[in-house]
């Protein structure tokens, strides 16, 4: 991020002194974060450090008491979650939240008919929408189960469904909240390849992950949260050498 003359247009997401409390517990304290278009950002931190709370505040699931979030040149404060999704902000949930009574195909159909259609670029016929949905399921390897219900899926497959559903809203920024927990080696490679492919198509990706190998190979930049505070922000190898990060992760 050495671009000295960085303009508002050169940043996709800007978080300014964001704060969130739950009662007396400070979950997020004065967080500042800029994400440029096309970036691949890793967000790490120990359990309970506020990663998911930050995502929830950015996506409108939670309201932040302090600070503000700008996305694509617009102030997001006060907008509901679905309005933010329609602006191009997509997220997958850490614990998969599929629509249990709908088939996988229809799970993916929802963002297409509610988000993409609402942007009103072009109208798709029903058959075209369906083909599109199958395409997203194919990307995550769930095409064969398109007509089944989420209850037939394994935990791993549900994570993939989460990702497919987030991708289907055709976002500018995708936040993948621990999409790889519990996956095998080769499955992690698959998901990483998928995220890289998305990124190459122009989607900015924020990856929240505990699996360091995945974060290190994917991210161009890493942000570290500890106890609701940002303690490091920079190139991966540089962040990993940071004594404060070492302390947070390994203890003293």
């Amino acid at each position: 991020m050495s671009n000295a003359g960085e303009r508002a247009s050169a940043e996709l997401l800007r978080v300014d002194n964001l704060g969130k409390r739950f009662g007396g517990f400070v979950a997020l304290d004065d967080i500042a974060l800029n994400v440029a278009p096309g970036e691949r950002l890793g967000l790490i931190g120990p359990n309970g450090s506020g990663k998911s709370t930050l995502v929830n505040c950015i996506c409108g699931t939670l309201r932040n008491e302090q600070g503000s979030v700008h996305f694509d040149g617009r102030k997001l404060d006060g907008l509901t979650a679905h309005q933010r999704t329609r602006l191009g902000l997509a997220r997958s949930f850490q614990l998969p939240r599929p629509f249990g009574s709908l088939s996988l195909l229809d799970n993916v159909r929802i963002p297409l008919i509610y988000t993409v259609a609402a942007r009103g670029h072009h109208h798709r016929a029903a058959a075209e929408v369906e083909e599109h949905c199958i395409g997203f399921l194919r990307e995550v390897g769930l095409e064969a189960k398109a007509r089944q219900r989420p209850r037939d899926l394994t935990q791993v497959e549900m994570r993939k469904l989460e990702l497919a559903r987030a991708m289907a809203s055709e976002p500018k920024l995708l936040i993948a909240d621990e999409a790889m927990a519990g996956l095998t080696h080769s499955e992690i490679e698959d998901i990483l390849a998928l995220l890289v492919r998305l990124n190459e198509q122009g989607v900015t990706v924020i990856l929240i992950e505990h699996i360091m190998r995945a974060v290190m190979s994917f991210s161009r930049r890493i942000v570290v949260l500890v106890s609701g505070r940002k303690i490091a922000d920079g190139a991966p190898d540089q962040v990993m050498r940071d004594p404060e990060v070492e302390r947070a992760y390994l203890g003293q």
Partner: protein, 338 residues
């Protein structure tokens, strides 16, 4: 099946039902049939909010009574004995629907941030509040009730009850068509996501609050429309019986027994339970009614939690698979060789 075709077929069935009821030559059948049809509308309306969106409304009686009392209000206002000749019944129904729909929208605005049991309790409270208002509103009869003089005859049908039956039959067709239309539309998908997971729905771009308001409004409107002709059916309208818990219990039990996820569930449940109730009222006693509902409800919750429609579904799924869907996936997978 496309909606116009569905509507045509439903109208044909309705015409056949009407012709058959006339052929029976006993006006009592109209009286009994009217109640069953009224419950088809009420349970279909309940299901749009309760079944599709998963918000259990205990206030059916309130919306139904609002429709009934708006007719009484018009009756008192115009002071015409033969009101339906001055203001046609369909207009009264639209008016009742409008009043209930507006209250439905208002209730939605106040209560839809509540989930689960809290929402249900709020709807129950609404019924109590409205009943108290009506009891203390002298203009519509207050706790004494109001007498409505039903016209004896209507040309060319004969006995007025036949006309009421016909009108309720048409409202039933309308309600079922609306429910089916919703189910297959973008709105229906949105409702299903609300039922499943509101947080995920929002994240997928579904405007959940707006959709829930649409559901309470449609549901309330239909309930009010079902209530509007009721004063003419009963002749003497009184708060106790109009706000009776029976309406709430029945309109929940019927979709649950039939199946809540599709338009046909409430229809099946009501035809079964409603007819059974009418038969029992005549053969045993009207007090046994609710007992039957209770027993059936317990049985269904244990044996078939997804109702009759759910039972049929499970039975079908044991066979190879939903082949219509299957074929489409296969066609998609088997891309033409280059």
């Amino acid at each position: 099946m496309r909606t116009p075709l569905f509507l045509l077929i439903s109208l044909a069935i309705a015409a056949a039902v009407f012709a058959a009821t006339i052929a029976l030559g006993n006006d009592y059948v109209f009286f009994a049939g009217y109640v069953v049809l009224q419950y088809v509308v009420l349970s279909t309306a309940w299901n749009i909010l309760g079944g599709y969106c998963g918000y259990v409304n205990f206030g059916t009686a309130a919306f139904f009574a609002l429709g009934a009392y708006s007719t009484v209000a018009v009756y008192k206002l115009i002071e015409a004995d033969e009101l339906p000749h001055v203001v046609p019944m369909p207009v009264l129904m639209l008016l009742g629907g409008l009043v209930s729909g507006v209250i439905g929208l208002g209730m939605g605005y106040l209560t839809l941030r509540l989930r689960g049991a809290f929402f249900s309790i709020a709807t129950l409270a609404l019924a109590v509040v409205l009943e108290t208002l009506v009891v203390n509103w002298d203009f519509v009869g207050g706790s004494r009730g109001a007498y409505i003089i039903r016209p004896e005859e209507i040309a060319p049908l004969g006995n007025y009850i036949r006309y009421l039956f016909l009108i309720m039959l048409l409202l039933t067709v309308a309600a079922l068509t609306i429910a089916r239309l919703i189910e297959r539309s973008r709105l229906g998908y949105g409702f299903a996501t609300i039922r499943d997971d509101e947080m995920a729905a929002e994240a997928a771009g579904v405007p959940t609050l707006r959709l829930k308001l649409i559901a309470t409004t449609i549901s309330g409107t239909l309930m009010g429309m079902a209530g509007a002709p009721f004063p003419y059916y009963i002749g003497y309208l009184q708060p106790d019986s109009t706000f009776a818990l029976d309406y709430a219990v029945n309109s929940i039990a019927m979709p649950l027994i039939g199946g809540t996820t599709s338009w046909i569930g409430p229809l099946i449940g009501t035809l079964l339970l409603g007819s059974l109730q009418q038969i029992i009222t005549v053969t045993i006693s009207s007090a046994v009614n609710l007992l039957i509902v209770g027993a059936l409800l317990v049985a269904f919750v244990i044996v078939a939690p997804n109702g009759i429609v759910g039972l049929v579904h499970t039975y079908l799924q044991r066979k190879p698979e939903d082949f219509v869907g299957r074929r489409r996936v296969d066609a998609d997978a088997a891309e033409p060789a280059p």
